[in-house]
Amino acid sequence: MANPLRIFVVEDEMMIAMLLEDMLADLGHRVAGVAMRLPQALEMAKATEADIAILDINLDGRKSFPVAGVLRDKGVKLIFASGYGSPGLEEPFLDEIILKKPFEPDDIRLALARAAG
């Protein structure tokens, strides 16, 4: 990848968060931060400098849209990871990119390319 991106990851499943970290590193990007819980994610969203965020919609029963709002206000591009049986997108994020689980490195590469424009 010619252009390494700074990526913020919000994912409540420990193993999947680690998998994402590895896949992103393999794709040549830098992980700007990993948050697994909503309060922590909100705090980190305010502080973290990132180009793109990959957010799991469902964080142990809570929706990650407040975090998405903070990030979008900062100009961070959004990719939503949709879990199994988790709720879909809501206003005002209906047009955002969705990354369906389970994903392969290529799915992430394509989603990042779309998000980066």
Binding site: D12, E13, M14, M15, I16, A17, M18, L19, D22, M23, V34, A35, M36, R37, L38, P39, Q40, D60, R62, G83, Y84, G85, K101, P102
Partner: protein
């Protein structure tokens, strides 16, 4: 005795001439008796008959009602025209015969008559006495008679014969019997109908299906069974229209369905239909699911007169189905989640693996650790698990033969399913490392896991001792990363792994509140 005609006849005829003209008159039987050769009977020639017999014979012959006389110990039969009608085709051979020979089919009766009245001097009386006689060309015939027997005294003052008044009552008896039978049959039929209607009413009342009958285009309740009363919360509905009695069903479209069924004559069948039903005296409506039929009922002329309402409350079944759907969705979610974890474990186990066979063993044992954590949570209905159970599970697998080398101590702490899974995986990594390189790799080392829960913080310490001297690994592996990064993130706290020379120590610290479930 003492009838004028007879006395006159006797006084008018003397000696032989009187015998020649006895008896006087007496119709057909009078003639037959006069012509009969009585000398062949035990009575002897008619001329030798004692006065008592003659008088009695006169009485018999002059009587307008059927009479028969049985004379002497053999009961020789003398009877009148009325009796001849009764005897039918057995007449005239009965005349002058012994009664037991004359009526062999009634021999028992007549033996008793002779015994009682002739020998005993008593009387016998029967009303509607049933007999079967062969008086009609050898055909058996059932008949009923009123019959009275009394002795006739002879000159010695003892019974010389028996006089019988025989009145056939067959016609009256059969008519009365028919009437009685008919009355009995009507009574029986009434009883049966009453029993049937009681039975049907009980059936209607007690059947587990709800049933009601609504009459006319306004659907006025005329019947409602117990199950229907239950459904509608015990409200009084008989005589009211459906709309009056159950106002809440109107807006739910049920009266429209009744109207349509009444107008079209076509039954409406509802399957699992949702109904909000008011309870008597309770403000809140209850949700029911019903399988039901609105069946239009026609009269003999084919006109629709009402609607029969029948069905079952299938609320429990529908709820069961809804619950099952939830469970299936939840199961599907868990299976996919588990597969995602396996994908992650595989990716990280085989990533940078230098020794494929070793990586395969690690992978397999990690999958087993995941499976055990799943079992533990399934046993707790996926509501969570206790910290002790998680540590104990790891201990059994990695130090099963020497349980005293692996101790777990701490207060009761419940963890959410997600945290329980992650902690199980992290403990598995620590234990695997201890068995391979650490305190459980020799004969004397031990692992102590202790925890405290105070001031809203949970502190877990994993401490190895007595193992071979520890050297920090050159490169941090999956296990280290899982504990220090993954677990710390998952629990919203910190996890520090230190490779002290005396043994590996891992300190985990996190807020306590998140383990109880809701954040």
């Amino acid at each position: 005795m003492g009838r004028a005609g007879i006395l006159r006849g006797r006084s008018g005829m003397k000696g032989k001439s009187a015998a020649m003209t006895f008896p006087v008159g007496g119709g057909e039987l009078g003639q037959l008796i006069r012509d009969f050769d009585w000398s062949k009977t035990s009575l002897g020639p008619i001329s030798s008959w004692p006065q008592s017999l003659r008088t009695a014979t006169d009485i018999v012959l002059q009587s307008p009602i059927p009479l028969v006389m049985l004379w002497g110990p053999d009961g020789i039969m003398i009877y009148n025209d009325g009796y001849a009608v009764f005897a039918a085709s057995r007449h005239p051979s009965l005349l002058g015969s012994k009664v037991l020979d004359g009526w062999p089919e009634a021999a028992d009766l007549n033996s008793n008559v002779l015994q009682t009245c002739y020998h005993g001097g008593g009387t016998l009386s029967y009303k509607d006495l049933p007999l079967t006689l062969y008086r009609n060309k050898g055909q058996p015939e059932d008949l009923w008679v009123d019959v009275n027997y009394g002795p006739v005294l002879d000159e010695s003052g003892k019974p010389g014969g028996v006089l019988a008044v025989v009145v056939e009552t067959t016609g009256r008896f059969l008519a009365e019997k028919a009437l009685a039978d008919e009355r009995l049959a009507v009574l029986e039929a009434n009883k049966r109908l009453t029993a049937e209607s009681t039975f049907i009413r009980e059936l209607f009342e007690q059947t587990p299906s709800f049933m009601a009958m609504a009459r006319g285009p306004e659907h006025v309740f005329v019947l409602a069974n117990h199950a229907y009363q239950e459904l509608i919360g015990g409200r009084e509905v008989i005589g009211k229209t459906v709309a009056e009695a159950l106002p809440e069903v109107v807006s739910q479209g049920f009266v429209d369905l009744l109207d349509t069924a009444y107008a079209s004559g076509k039954a409406h069948i509802g399957a699992g239909s949702r109904l909000l039903m008011q309870r008597a005296g309770g403000p809140e409506a209850r949700e029911h699911f019903l399988d039901f039929v609105y069946q239009p009922i026609r009269n003999a002329a084919g006109d629709i007169t009402g609607i029969f309402i029948e069905g079952q409350d299938v609320t429990e079944r529908v709820r069961g189905e809804q619950h099952l759907r939830l469970v299936v969705n939840e199961l599907n979610h868990r299976v996919k989640n588990t597969l995602a974890m396996i994908q992650a474990i595989a990716a990280q186990t085989f990533r940078n693996a230098e020794d494929l066979p070793k990586a395969q063993v690690s992978f397999s044992s990690r999958i087993m650790a995941l499976a055990r954590a799943n079992d533990l949570l399934t046993g707790e209905n996926w509501e969570g698990a206790s910290l002790y159970d998680i540590i104990a599970g790891v201990s059994v697998v990695h130090a099963g033969n020497e349980p005293d080398r692996f101790a777990a101590r701490g207060p009761m702490v419940r963890l959410s399913p997600k945290v329980a899974l992650s902690l199980s995986m992290a403990m598995h990594e620590l234990a695997t490392n201890a068995v391979k390189y650490g305190a459980l790799s020799n004969d004397s080392g031990r692992v102590d896991v202790t925890w405290t829960a105070s001031d809203g913080r949970l502190r877990i310490e994993w401490r190895e001792s007595g193992g071979p001297p520890v050297t920090a690994p050159e490169r941090r592996g999956f296990g280290s990363r899982l504990v220090e990064r993954g677990l710390a993130g998952e629990m919203g706290g910190s996890a520090r792994l230190s490779f002290d020379a005396a043994g590996v120590v891992c300190l985990i610290e996190a807020p306590l509140d998140i383990y109880e479930g809701a954040e």
